[in-house]
């Protein structure tokens, strides 16, 4: 089976690096250090799963999901938010309106996160393209 393409967005560069080095065996990993950069990648490359940090300067993870939901209304909700903070009202909003699939707390557990990504991929019938 072809590897899933996962795009991970986080303003903390080390998080990006460790994400890639942890999951490079399982997935084809793309990384971006801001919501804006992430959106640019989404427009250029086929992506299966989108994972974003919540707290970032300029645009938050929820803000990003809102844009993504506008641009790709037909893509199933294979989007995740990872945060060092606990879920708040914004996250609830994202579940309700912006097709958030799952909220994961930092520090993430590698096997748990991998499981969630695979689970989400089951809903996949259309990529961001």
């Amino acid at each position: 089976m072809e590897k899933l393409t996962v795009l991970y967005i986080d303003d903390e560069e080390i998080n990006l690096r460790v994400f890639k080095s942890t999951f490079r065996r399982d997935f084809f990993v793309l990384i971006a250090c801001s919501a804006k950069e992430g959106l640019a990648i989404l427009k250029k490359e086929p992506v299966d799963i989108l994972i974003t940090d919540q707290r970032m300067p300029e645009m938050t993870g929820v803000g990003l999901l809102k844009e993504v939901a506008d641009i790709y209304p037909d893509v199933p909700p294979v989007r995740m938010i990872i945060s060092g903070y606990t879920a708040d009202k914004d996250i609830e909003e994202a579940y309700k309106n912006y097709k958030l699939y799952s909220f994961v707390s930092k520090p993430w557990d590698e096997s748990y996160l991998k499981g969630i990504i695979l689970e989400a991929s089951n809903m996949l019938n259309k990529r961001y393209e």
Binding site: N15, T22, G84, Y85, S105, K106, P107
Partner: protein, 262 residues
């Protein structure tokens, strides 16, 4: 709120330490596979292998990775403790049944209490619903009752290793936690008093001053964060109440909480 912010912000560096260790472990396993496949090393490589103590190194690396993860787990536990502490800011004052709160906490602890500790309840039935932060208040009961159980366990261990039974045949009366509640009305004000008494090992005099200090713990490394009682103190203060204790070594400890009620 500041503490909450700091606690959560720590999760980022903790995340990349943890995740970094996980990926190191996988990379190492791959390398190890390669090394074993190579088998007999050519002379030049053999010399380096001897110089760096390769056999030992191959054992040290995975152990170091596990050690890093132990550190990560412990840090996460502390952050979680701080997070629970500050969750108080987010919770709301509500009318809640005090006795129900204590009983549900006891239920959660029943696996630790089992038959070896007798629970004696003396509830003042005049106390019904009180205005409080129910979640955090239950956390106080949880902490105090947990400590009481640990203190009794400590005593049981001490007694069995000393071969003593103190002449008491029935362990049910020897190992006991009493929970008393009382409504106190005077001069137009009303207070609820909650007293939790254990017949455990007691608190040595020299540490009594430090009991409510954050990160102070007598528990084994990894067993307690030392945040429990400081969190209790904060929660009771937030209610405008007081928490105090009296203790006698080898006899037991009594915690008293008073909460003002409207």
């Amino acid at each position: 709120m500041l503490t909450a912010g700091i606690a959560h912000e720590i999760n980022n560096p903790v995340n990349f330490i943890n995740s970094g260790a996980v990926s190191l472990q996988k990379d190492y396993e791959d390398l190890e596979r390669l090394i074993h496949a190579v088998g007999e090393l050519p002379p030049d490589a053999r010399r380096i292998a001897d110089e760096i103590g390769m056999e030992e190194l191959l054992k040290i690396i995975p152990q170091t990775i596990v050690d890093i993860q132990t550190g990560v787990n412990r840090t996460s536990e502390i952050v979680k403790g701080l997070r629970n502490f500050t969750r108080l800011d987010a919770s709301e004052l509500k009318e809640a049944d005090l006795h129900e709160g204590i009983d549900s906490t006891l239920l959660l602890l029943s696996h630790k209490i089992k038959d070896r500790i007798r629970i004696v309840k003396a509830y003042d039935e005049r106390i019904g619903f009180i205005k409080c932060y129910p979640g955090p208040l239950n956390q106080v009961f949880m902490n105090l009752l947990n400590n009481a159980i640990d203190a009794i366990d400590q005593k049981i261990r001490g007694n069995s290793s000393a071969g003593e039974t103190h002449g008491i045949k029935d362990p049910g009366t020897q190992y006991q936690i009493r929970i008393l509640t009382k409504l106190i009305e005077e001069e137009g004000t009303a207070q609820v008093k909650i007293v939790i008494t254990d017949t455990g090992a007691g608190i040595p005099e020299e540490i009594r001053d430090k009991l409510f200090d954050p990160f102070f713990t007598t528990k084994e490394v990894g067993k307690g964060t030392g945040l429990g009682l400081s969190i209790c103190h904060g929660i009771i203060e937030k209610h405008g109440g007081k928490i105090s204790f009296e203790s006698t070594v080898r006899i037991g400890t009594e915690f008293t909480i008073t909460l003002p009620i409207e």
